[in-house]
Assembly symmetry: C2
Homo-oligomer: 146 residues x 2
Amino acid sequence: MPEDTSSKLFVTAIDRLKASGGRMTKKREVLLGALLTFDRPASAEEIRERAELAQSDLVTVYRNLETFENIGMLQRVLLENGTQLFELTAPDEHYHHLICRECHKTERLDLCVNNTVFNQAKKHGYTQIAHLMEVYGICGDCENSA
Amino acid sequence: MPEDTSSKLFVTAIDRLKASGGRMTKKREVLLGALLTFDRPASAEEIRERAELAQSDLVTVYRNLETFENIGMLQRVLLENGTQLFELTAPDEHYHHLICRECHKTERLDLCVNNTVFNQAKKHGYTQIAHLMEVYGICGDCENSA
DNA sequence: GTGGATGCAAAGAATTTGCAACCAA
DNA sequence: TTGGTTGCAAATTCTTTGCATCCAC
């Protein structure tokens, strides 16, 4: 992620955190920084490892991820087996991914079905609509090394 | 599901099962019948309950669901929290759903991104491509009773 | 009879909850 | 000081594995 994008997200996160009544702790600062270094969605454990200076408990990681989600700056990504990865995003944005089943390498897709999906869901009388879309496959590297 | 569609799926499942070297047991017959009675994807536990005449272990249910998936006649559907629902389908078909977060009521969506997704994934050098897309919301009934 | 199918127990992985101690504002 | 935050332990939920027994073919 470009330096300026990264620092802007950092500042925005702090603002939103405080606006929601939360506090900025050392752990959160490091976790946030760790999240920003990923160029792909990561698991809770991966995030904890990368934020090693803070030596956080995995529980703390999960709780903070939920906090970041609540302020609209984190997206959960589901793997095919149901486990989740986490990705810091600009406020209330979301992305769809092409995910390698082997190495979890991830690329953002240029594709969103927001309008279609929203309209159909509304037509069925649904509210609080959200959608999930991910594409899975084996990337070229993993294919070759198999 | 219409009677004839249902029995056709049943027969197809048996054929494919045998073709793959599997056997038709009493448990499987009842589980298959139970799956056909659902008009929406269901959890392993729900499927087991509905197939009560067979009194199957939950493990057996999971193993059979995997078997049905292997013969191309079962689709897994992920809820937002990563737990899975299962749905019997015509051979190698798949659907996308509008799912109520509260009651798990489900409607099939008239929408598929197969071609777009496949092309983009192929462009990135991926193989064995599959995709997941589900829409979540609160249905009218649940909204009113809240 | 032979190999696939099943049940029981147990393991596993991912995630959540309770509670006391801790620390930012 | 006060209430949000954290760590530790433990519980929960969903799903998978091992192994002996069983049954379809």
